[in-house]
């Protein structure tokens, strides 16, 4: 009961492309002024749970693991997804298989079960509190 293979693959490829474009563009932050890509921060002046991810992903790609963890631990997850997901999808498309779709659906179902969901929510909230302490 998820997205179809074609829609999911094209959406994720598009999102990955946007992610790499943002990484490239945000290298020179002088154009952007106050706008860091986050509505919550722009309107309320407080960081959201994933603020710092752009810096964290930059740090991962430059091999600075510790500073990436400091900026935002979610950046590590995001960087891993940005590398693995497009590669996996391209390999899937070349082979004509649907292995990524099956793994995606299985992961989705697992995450909807309450032990995983509660763990995820608690982790995100703790990260948000840490972000509030770090960035305000």
């Amino acid at each position: 009961m998820s997205l179809s293979r074609g829609r999911l693959y094209s959406l994720l490829l598009f999102l990955s492309a946007c992610g790499y474009l943002w990484l490239y563009v945000s290298n020179d932050s002088s154009h952007w002024g106050d706008w860091g890509g986050c509505w919550i921060r722009y309107i309320f002046g407080i960081p959201c749970p994933s603020c710092g991810n752009t810096r964290a992903v930059h740090a991962v790609f430059h091999g600075e693991w510790l500073s990436s963890l400091y900026y935002n631990p979610l950046g590590l997850l995001l960087a891993a997804l940005m590398v693995v997901v497009p590669l996996w999808i391209v390999v899937d498309l070349l082979r004509g298989s649907s292995s990524f779709l099956r793994v995606y659906q299985a992961t989705e179902q697992k995450l909807q079960r309450w032990p995983y969901a509660v763990t995820g929510i608690v982790a995100i909230l703790m990260n948000w509190i840490w972000n509030l302490v770090k960035y305000t």
Binding site: S2, W22, G37, W39, C48, L77, I124
Partner: protein
């Protein structure tokens, strides 16, 4: 299924389903077996209005996507600050239809 029961079901639930699929759903229900009735009443559809409210208020955190069962995309939205705020705005316009499509897919797995 009995026409009266189908009409009653459609009257109560048509706001949860995509407009373009209403007639198709009605035909499928009329052709369906009586034994499906219990299952039909057990389905809990997601409300498109609640999805829209969640999208307007907490779209940046992907909570609208989590609500309709798109956990994967919800996580994607959460860890990217709502797709840098752009995905959030796009979802304000798309989320109601997406919710109805999700409800339709859930219904189709039963009948």
């Amino acid at each position: 299924m009995d026409q009266q029961k189908v009409d009653m079901f459609m009257m109560m639930n048509n706001k949860y389903l995509p407009e373009s699929q209403i007639l198709f759903v009605r035909e499928r229900l009329l052709a369906a077996d009586e034994s499906k009735e219990g299952l039909l009443h057990a389905i809990q559809f997601k409300d498109p209005t609640i999805a829209l409210i969640l999208s307007l208020l907490t779209g940046e955190l992907g909570i609208d996507r989590f609500y309709i069962g798109d956990t994967g995309l919800g996580i994607g939205k959460l860890i990217t600050c709502g797709g840098l705020g752009i995905w959030t705005i796009i979802d304000w316009f798309l989320i109601m239809n997406t919710t109805r499509e999700k409800n339709f897919m859930r219904l189709m797995t039963i009948i």
